[in-house]
Structure formats: C-alpha cells, structure tokens
Amino acid sequence: MSDHTYSPAQGQSVLWMRLLLWALLILFAIWFLLPAYVVVGTSLKDLEEIRGGSLLALPHELNFSAWKHAWNEACIGVRCTGLEPYFWNSVFMALPAVFISTLLGALTGYALTKFQFRGANMIFALILFGCFVPFQVVILPMAQTLGRLGITNTVYGLILVHSVYGLAFTTLFFRNYYVTIPDELVRAATIDGAGFFTIFRRIILPLSPPIIVVSVIWQFTQIWNDFLFGASFTTGGAQPITVAMNNLVNTTTGVKQYNVDMAAALITAAPTLFVYIVAGRYFVRGLTAGSVKG
C-alpha cells in the first residue's frame, strides 16, 4: 500500500521506515535459512571438518561424496543400497495418491457445490472433520482393513491410505474454490445439453488450474513427507524414503556420519523443496483464487 502521498517533511521518516522494513525482512530470512544453511553446509563437509569446525563455518570445498554415499551406498539395515530404491518407492506411492485424491476431491467438491442436493452441506461437514483425525488413531483399524484387502506391506496399501485421508483436504480446497464459480455456468451448460461429467470436463476443470496447483502441492508435500503410515504399514524394501532415511540416520557403525545424514535428509526433502520453489508462486496465487475466500 505504498501509493500514499507524503509531504517532504516525512521524507526522512520514510527512509527510516524503509530501512527498518529491510532489516526485519532480512532478519526473518536469516531465521528461515539457518537450518537449511546448517544442513547443506554440513552435508558438504567431511567428518574431520565437522568435528573440528563450527556448525556455521563454510565448508572448505564442495565435497559431494556424502551425497553419493547417501544416494546409493549407505546401509539401511543389512541392505547397502542407499536411498535410491526408496526414493522410487515414494514416487510410485505419491504420484497415484496425489492424482486420486485430487481428482476425487475435485469431483466431490464439484458435486457438493454445483448440485446442492439435500444433505450436501452435512456431507461436506462430515468429510471436513476427517482433516482433524490424528493419524495414530487409525493405525490399528487400518492395519486390519489393509489385511482384509490383502494389500498390507504394498505400495497400493499406502496409496489407499493417503488417498482416503487426503480426500478431506482436497474436498475442502475444491469446494471452497467452486463456491466462487457462479452456479449459472453449470445451469447454462445443462441447458446447452451437457451432462454432469461433460460440464466437469469442459467447463469446470478448465477453470480449476489455480486450485489444482494448491491441491497437488499440498497433497504431494503431505504424502511425500509422511512418516507414520509409511513406518507402520510397510517394512523393508517397500518403505517410502522418509522411513528409509530415518533408518539410515539410525544405522550407525561406530561414528555418526553427520554429513551423510544431512545429505540423506536433503535428498529426502529435495522433491518437495523443488515443487515449492518452482510452483510456490502459483500456490500463493491459487490460495488467493479460492480457498481464502471460503
């Protein structure tokens, strides 16, 4: 809001305000960057340097050996494969789960807002409450269910779990976004002869990219970063990367290899970081477009 006019006498104080503003911005930036700096810095040092130097010191040289070690050499239990296979486990788990939960959330949000049938609000409230269920609660009954379905310890089990518990959030996002789309569009299309799915595909979906971005980023982050479900429902080779990373960090032989641990943490966080850095802009924009106005 800087389009106010100031009198010359205020010029001095404007300058001071500007300085203060930047000081605050930079201070917060340091606070936000500190952990990243520590983690990245340490991952590039060798063990000698870590023990000898200070946490905040810059690495002497860029040494990527810890990264390589974490990626495909480090031992997790008795398997010395590094994080690589688990990385792909996570990819094969996250992509379908993000897709399914986003699609179902979009369809549900669309049906609940544009076809306000009896009880639609009640159904929405019931779905929404699903956002707040602590996941520890569902582990045991979920284990039984997965067992009945015969998908224990498989990536399909995790896809199911993440799709179901992501649904509450995606429905919330899409519902709040679709509320802002005029109902008349749907009515016009109905009279034009378009059916439920045609309207969704031809009218609603083309208007949805902002909220799809929000939903995909949110879901991808949640699912990729999940530890509890991954740790409870999978073992060994089927584990997602977060669990493998935890095992790797806790698999020590004599000396704690901080640099490898840090590199492993960074490799684990890399995809979500990438998504935020590349698409963060659209995330903010998407929030403006819909979920905020709810």
Binding site: F32, L55, L126, Q136, V137, L140, T171, Y276, T288
Partner: protein, 298 residues
C-alpha cells in the same frame, strides 16, 4: 395425456452427483467415522497388547486421567497449541504486511519464507535439534563470538523443551500463514484503501483498522489449519526432543502412540485418542456449524 415414465438413463443422470459423491463419502464414513467408532469401543474394552472386545466401561479413562504422563501431555498440548497458533499468526501476518510494501525481490524473499512448509517435520526437527544442541550448535557458536551467557539449548531443558517445539513448528508454518494473509491482502479492494488514505488515515491505521479486520475469514482458515497441525503434531516431537527430557515435552499424539504400541495398553491409548478427538470436535464443530450455516442455498 399421461406423464411418460422417467427414462432409466435420465434417472441415473439426475442421481449422478450423489453417485459421484457416494464412494468418497462412503470411504470417509468407513475410514474416519467407522475407525473412530472402533476406537471408541476399544477405549471401553480391556484391550492390552492386541485389541480385545471385553467391555469394561470407563475404566481406561479413569486410569488415563491418573497418569502423570497424560496430564503433562495434555498441558503441553494447550501450551504448544496456543503459542504455536498465536505466534505463527502474528509472525505470518507481520511478514505478509512487510512483503506487501512493494519491495524488490518479493518473489525471492517469499520463497525463502515459504520453503519450510515443503519439509517434513522429521527433517525440521532433526535440523533444529542440531542447532539447539548446546555443544554442537548455535550456543557454542554465539559464545565463541564472546556472548558467554547465551543459551539456546532449549531442547535439553525440561521447562524450555516445549517452547523449542513451538519455535520449530512456527518456523515451519509461519511462511504458509504469510502466504494465506498475503493473498488476502492482495484481494482487498483498493478503493477502500484509497478512500481511507484520503480521509487522512496513516498506513498503520489503514492496516490495523481497515485491512486486517476485513480478513476475518482468512484468519479463521489459518487458525483451523494451524490447529489441525498442532493436534496432529507427532513427528516433530519424535525428531526434535523425543518427548524429553524425560517426558517433559510429550504431546497427546505421542502419548497415544507410546501406550498403544510400546506399553501394551491399547485400551488407554484408545481412551487418549478419544479425548483428543473430543478436544478437536469441541473446537471444530461450532466453527463448521457457523461457517456452513451461513452458506445454505436459497
């Protein structure tokens, strides 16, 4: 002239919205409410190592509330939840206002503020654990600069450990709150701001009296999202403090996990879960009610 019967395909077409919602809703009914009901029943059973269906009434709740660990966990949840939500909103709001001053490199700075949201609590916790480690982390560094009395080993102090949780959680979520508020600031009607500044209101007044109050819905969204993070906080505790020192920084989610899986006290675990859910419901149900009531169709 008699009415023709409704063709079958038409009937399907008309019921499509319900048909489409049905699987999702059924899934939620089963996987959320079914499981809650199951947990509710188990909380009144004498389940120990494995679920057991012998009914014992409220005995597990009685035991739960006698446990020291539980009262600590519950108290921590209130401290943690309140501080986390309040501080994250204050900082998020402040950052949004700062970034709204048409500064250069806004996109870059915004990314810096937002990136922690991308990181899992496990990694956040681990990184802050290192930084707060008295001999390895920031404390030694700052003392090395000459500030001898500097203390940052919060995780190792039983009275400060829960604040360490707050700090790490705020670090992770403040950027997200900022994004919410920033997008709301951007959608405020510019005419109102012009009118206010013509009326002679200072920028500070414009923010505090006009813009921020108009963002009530965003404020509510932020509270709801943060509250859900607070209630669900589990990984962060595991990675940052391990619930310690002792169990000084344990939260209900951790308590539940410990009881259910480590102590062969599934009944008590389920009882604690039900208390958590009741807490959530006490906050959420009035909110949902007021939110949705206003939006009923004509």
């Amino acid at each position: 002239m008699s009415r023709p019967p409704i063709p079958f395909t038409d009937r399907i077409a008309r019921a499509l919205p319900q048909i489409v919602v049905a699987p999702s809703f059924a899934a939620i009914l089963f996987f959320v409410y079914g499981f809650i009901a199951w947990t509710g029943y188990i909380s009144m059973s004498k389940s120990k190592m494995l679920p057991n269906y012998d009914f014992v009434g409220i005995r597990q709740y009685w035991r739960l509330f006698q446990m020291d660990r539980w009262s600590v966990a519950l108290e921590n949840l209130f401290i943690f939840g309140f501080l986390f939500i309040a501080v994250a909103i204050v900082i998020g709001c402040l950052l949004a206002v700062l970034l709204d001053q048409r500064i250069r490199a806004e996109g870059f700075i915004r990314t810096i503020y937002l990136y922690p949201m991308a990181i899992s609590f496990i990694i956040t916790g681990t990184a802050w654990k290192w930084i707060m480690n008295p001999s390895l982390g920031l404390e030694t560094v700052v003392r090395g600069w000459g500030w001898e009395s500097f203390r940052f080993g919060w995780t190792n102090d039983e009275t400060l450990a829960v604040y360490a949780l707050v700090m790490a959680a705020v670090w992770q979520s403040a950027g997200f709150v900022m994004a919410l508020f920033l997008s709301a600031l951007r959608s405020v009607d510019q005419d109102i701001i012009k009118a206010a500044s013509l009326d002679g209101a200072s920028p500070w007044k414009i923010y505090t009296r006009i813009i921020l109050p108009s963002m009530r819905p965003v404020f509510m969204s932020a509270v709801v999202i943060l509250a859900h993070l607070a209630i669900k906080s589990f990984d962060l505790v595991v990675a940052l403090t391990g619930g310690g020192p002792g169990y000084a920084s344990t939260l209900p989610a951790n308590f539940m996990y410990e009881m259910t899986f480590r102590r062969n006290e599934i009944g008590v675990g389920a009882a604690s879960a039900m208390v958590m859910l009741a807490t959530v419901a006490a906050i959420m149900v009035p909110y949902l009610y007021s939110e949705l009531r206003g939006k009923k169709h004509v």
